[in-house]
């Protein structure tokens, strides 16, 4: 059976599961186990199929056309290396989320609002990646959005969720319309919607730029590019955690897939200036996203914002690839491209992991607000370990996977002097600095996230009485954590696995890595830069354990437990510990005043007054206030103005008719 057929069967299985779920979603336990089990199975099969295809890379593509969709076109589906990779990403996340869901779903109070849409959502994402004509692509794209919207609305009674769902739906539809325009432009008046036809057609540079901008609007709004990100931090946290994980870790990747598919594959080499747009947007997104995250105290919103940051990093890398490709520099282009894909993979690992962790915390304490957490490292030992792994990985610290992709991106940045255009020459280093800033801020952000919610003393009764979560959830998280480490210490394998994609899209690949001594990676040449995660890990482990052993053997190993010292002042109240806002204060003072118009207002009671001093922090989301609020206002204003027409007298309506008639007759008299 053709490889693509296997994938489609898996999708069919997912859809079938959804239908079944509608039927029996009332009986909680059974349904939960059954549905998530089936979903996991389907995803696993799909993942293995796609993975084998990618590793064997037979080259070419496996295609299939179904007699549905646009009548005279049919629904084209195609599995090539790029699609295979993203299928792996999607289905890995899907399988993990399902495994997690088996345990997490038990606590779901409205399973009938989650179970049917969960497999449907996964099916939608699979189909988007498989689709090979504009119509099926958009149809699946919107189906995906719709299913995820339904999942966001699962807890529609909680405050803010309906608004989140609404904003999400509108932004999604905005994105779809942008994509629609892009495809309409690519397909031309005759309407050749097949990707093959679009690929074959020649596109002028200006047209390419237009389409690229439309794609940035369409795919970017789904991926969460600033300033189109507003829906993301609302919608992602509103969904159940394993769905949030999918939306953040996987759906944004599907959006990026769309961007790659159209801009790199269908469009052909674009103009170099367009790469500048992508670079700037990416850099801004990375920094803004992580700064938003730093200002957050809601754990899931923080994670959602950090997703925005990572999307920015990926887009920067893609922009680099575009820039190099536009100048025909194949090797650096493939380097940047591979780095982007690598980061896609990594982010799907650790963001999913982190959202699972947040879900576990939510299950254990019922709290998302970090200022009510703390000390969980004692109550939830396993979760705290895997969550720590996620935090280290996402902070781009060796020896975990996040660092490898960022290192590759920096290597690509370092190739920029070879670019002929001055604009890029000067822009790219600055963007690189932005990336470094984003990386450092990410580290700060996750020190805060972990330090406030897992370390220190519990800030609420819920946190004090927290308990470790069930085995399924832990298993899912452990697997992802292991993957984070593996991808970190064996990057060469991943890079080689990604090479067929680079070959397929750019026609060039990085030199094989897995053959090198000590499994280190050398993207360009050893003299230019190399990294060996494995050795770094080994060195650290060995030297640390040597020291440990030595000290325990020859120096003291006595321990005395006492109350914390704190310069002699041990504050009794856990509430007096550093809060999320407090931790972010130095950074808020550095960046916030400019970017968020942040201001702290302290109300200090008079001497002798025993009232507590109060600190109020004022933050403004300028993107919302400057871009969206005016738009909303304009629409409302127009609506109010036009609404007067609803209440005219009949004579008024008649005069409207009369006016129309006379105008038309006049036009007729004047023109014809």
């Amino acid at each position: 059976m053709a490889a693509v057929a296997v994938q489609l069967w898996c999708v069919a299985a997912l859809l079938g599961t959804a239908v079944v779920a509608v039927a029996l979603s009332r009986s909680r336990q059974l349904a939960t186990t059954l549905i998530y089990g089936a979903t996991m199975l389907a995803c696993a099969v799909a993942m293995i199929g796609a993975g084998r295809w990618l590793l064997d890379h037979p080259g070419g593509a496996s295609e299939l056309t179904l007699p549905i969709g646009l009548p005279w076109l049919g629904a084209h589906f195609r599995l090539d290396a790029l699609a295979a990779f993203f299928l792996v990403v999607v289905n890995l996340g899907g399988a993990a989320a399902s495994l997690y869901g088996v345990g997490y779903g038990r606590h779901e109070h409205a399973p009938h609002r989650v179970l049917p849409f969960f497999p449907a959502f996964l099916a939608g994402m699979n189909l988007v990646v498989l689709a090979d004509d504009a119509f099926s692509y958009l149809l699946c794209w919107e189906f995906m959005s719709l299913a995820s919207w339904a999942l966001v609305m699962a807890h529609h009674r909680e405050s803010g969720n309906t608004r989140a769902g609404y904003v999400y739906l509108v932004m999604a539809s905005f994105g779809t319309l942008a994509l629609l325009l892009a495809f309409g432009f690519l397909a031309g008046p005759a309407g050749d919607y097949g990707f093959a036809a679009i690929r074959a057609a020649a596109h002028s540079p200006s047209a390419a730029t237009l389409v690229l901008i439309l794609m940035l609007l369409g795919a970017g709004s789904k991926a969460g590019l600033v300033p189109l990100h507003v829906w993301l931090p609302l919608a992602h946290p509103a969904a159940p955690s394993h769905v949030s994980a999918l939306m953040s870790g996987v759906m944004t990747k599907v959006a990026i897939y769309g961007f790659i598919r159209v801009v790199f594959d269908l469009l052909g080499p674009p103009d170099w200036s367009s790469s500048g747009i992508v670079l700037v947007l990416g850099g801004a997104t990375a920094v803004m996203g992580i700064l938003y995250a730093l200002m957050e105290k809601d754990l899931k919103r923080l994670l959602a914002y950090s997703t925005i940051e990572n999307v920015g990093i990926i887009f920067v890398s893609l922009g680099l690839a575009l820039a190099f490709q536009a100048n025909g520099q194949a090797l650096p282009a493939s380097l940047a491209f591979t780095a982007a894909l690598f980061h896609v993979l990594n982010h799907s690992f650790f963001k999913t992991l982190l959202f699972f962790g947040a879900g576990a915390v939510l299950t254990a304490t019922g709290e998302r607000d970090m200022d009510k957490l703390g000390g969980l490292i004692h109550r939830m030992p396993v979760t705290s370990v895997v969550f720590l792994v996620g935090c280290v990985a996402i902070s781009a610290l060796p020896p975990f996977n996040g660092f490898v992709s960022e290192w590759l991106i920096f290597q690509a940045v370092l190739q920029s002097p070879s670019l002929p255009q001055w604009g890029l020459k000067i822009m790219v280093p600055a963007i690189g600095a932005l990336l470094a800033l984003a990386a450092a801020l990410a580290a700060a952000c996750f020190v805060k996230a972990y330090g406030i919610s897992f370390l220190s003393r519990p800030r609420s009764a819920a946190a004090e009485t927290a308990h470790e979560v069930d085995g399924f959830s832990l298993a899912a998280m452990a697997i992802l954590a292991a993957l984070c480490l593996l991808a970190g210490v064996l990057p060469g394998v991943v890079i080689d696995a990604l090479s067929p994609i680079a070959v397929e899209i750019l026609g060039h690949r990085l030199a094989p890595q897995s053959g090198l001594a000590w499994l280190s990676i050398v993207p360009i040449a050893e003299s230019k830069g190399s990294y060996n995660g494995l050795l770094v890990l080994v060195f650290i482990a060995v030297s640390a354990s040597l020291l440990f052993g030595a000290i325990y053997a020859y120096a003291s190993h006595a321990v005395r437990r006492v109350p914390a010292w704190g310069c002699g002042f041990t504050d009794p109240a856990p509430a007096a510990q550093y809060s999320a806002a407090g931790f972010a204060q130095p950074i808020r003072r550095v960046f916030g005043t400019l970017l968020f118009h942040a201001s702290d207002h302290v109300t200090m009671p008079a001497p002798g007054d025993i009232a507590p001093a109060r600190l109020r922090i004022e933050l403004h989301d300028l993107v919302w206030e400057r871009v969206y609020a005016p738009l909303v206002g304009a629409v409302g204003y127009t609506a109010n103005r036009l609404d007067r027409l609803q209440l005219l007298t009949i004579r008024g309506y008649l005069s409207l008719v009369f006016a129309t008639l006379v105008t038309l007759l006049l036009v007729l008299a004047i023109w014809s």
Partner: protein, 318 residues
């Protein structure tokens, strides 16, 4: 055979930095004392402190977690590995290609990450202050560092330290303004990263001013020893980084035989000593600045780095 000797040489370097680090700190303290017309402790004092701390029992807060106890070792190991990967007396050591400059920076980042976490673990106000300020400083230092890397890499065409050192040593690069800027920037970053005056004062426990010390306030005994030792190593690392990037002259080329290694080592020690002297001089000459002046200070480094890079384009294009 070759591999053995390679590993041997690499081992020597690890040992060298291991032994040299406390000495450098001691030396700096000594010089500072001298400049203040004090006698000051012996240069070997740091060794003694470490040994004393090692022997003491650990006083641990009740709610300290395993992370708190693991951090000293992780931190130290990370810094040690990083330090071992910077060419000191010879380039092109066996494991140099394990990590380039970026990785070394990142390794220090790992160390900082865990230290900051440990600072928050016990849940005292001081730890919070220390960690939050530390990460803020780091957030500003890292972009500057990257730009420095970028600038150097543009000149040498590599981020591989050995290559860079060889390239610059082989004096085909004349005196470059941009390199000068990069060096100043690196010095600023080094001061910030090592919690030296004017960014932080390693000798004070005045809570409003301290950063690094506040973070490790809860540590004691062998843990404290590890962390202190880590700090020493970090200082040495940065010094030898500056030295190997900007003054690599006299550094031995790999495989040049034991003699040149010895010479290289000698030269290296001299250079480090000189750098330590300058550091002491600078620290006595300046005062600590307010925490929220630090961003401007590091911003200067950032600007210098960027300027150096752009300047490089210009000079190259000419």
């Amino acid at each position: 055979m070759v591999v053995i000797s390679d590993i041997l040489v690499q081992g020597i370097q690890m040992l060298l930095v291991f032994l040299l680090a406390p000495l450098l700190t001691g030396f700096v303290r000594k010089v500072k004392a001298r400049l203040l017309r004090r006698r000051g402790p012996s240069v070997l004092q740091p060794y003694r402190d470490l040994l004393r701390l090692l022997r003491k029992e650990v006083v641990l807060a009740d709610n300290a977690s395993w992370l708190f106890r693991a951090t000293p070792y992780v931190t130290f190991a990370a810094i040690w590995v990083a330090a071992a990967l910077v060419p000191t007396f010879a380039t092109g050591l066996l494991f140099n290609w394990t990590a380039d400059l970026i990785v070394i920076v990142a390794l220090l980042g790992t160390a900082r990450f865990f230290l900051a976490l440990a600072g928050m673990d016990v849940g005292t106000a001081f730890g919070g202050i220390g960690s939050s300020r530390e990460v803020m400083i780091a957030a500003l230092a890292e972009p500057a560092m990257l730009l420095i890397v970028f600038c150097v890499a543009l000149v040498a065409g590599s981020t591989q330290l050995s290559t860079v050192a060889n390239f610059i040593a082989s004096s085909q690069t004349g005196l470059r303004v941009s390199l000068g800027m990069a060096m100043i920037a690196l010095v600023i970053v080094a001061l910030a990263e090592n919690a030296r005056i004017p960014v932080d004062n390693p000798a004070t426990h005045l809570e409003l001013t301290m950063v690094h010390e506040a973070m490790i306030l809860e540590y004691s005994g062998r843990h404290l020893a590890m962390i202190e030792f880590g700090a020493f190593l970090k200082l040495l690392l940065y010094v030898s980084l500056i030295v190997c990037l900007f003054f690599p002259w006299g550094i031995a080329i790999f495989g040049a035989g034991p003699l040149s290694y010895v010479v290289g080592a000698g030269v290296y020690v001299l250079k480090v000593g000189f750098a330590g002297f300058l550091l002491a001089l600078f620290e006595t000459a300046t005062a600590k600045m307010r925490v929220f002046r630090v961003p401007q200070f590091l911003g200067a480094a950032l600007m210098l780095g960027l300027l150096g890079t752009l300047l490089l384009f210009v000079s190259k294009s000419l």
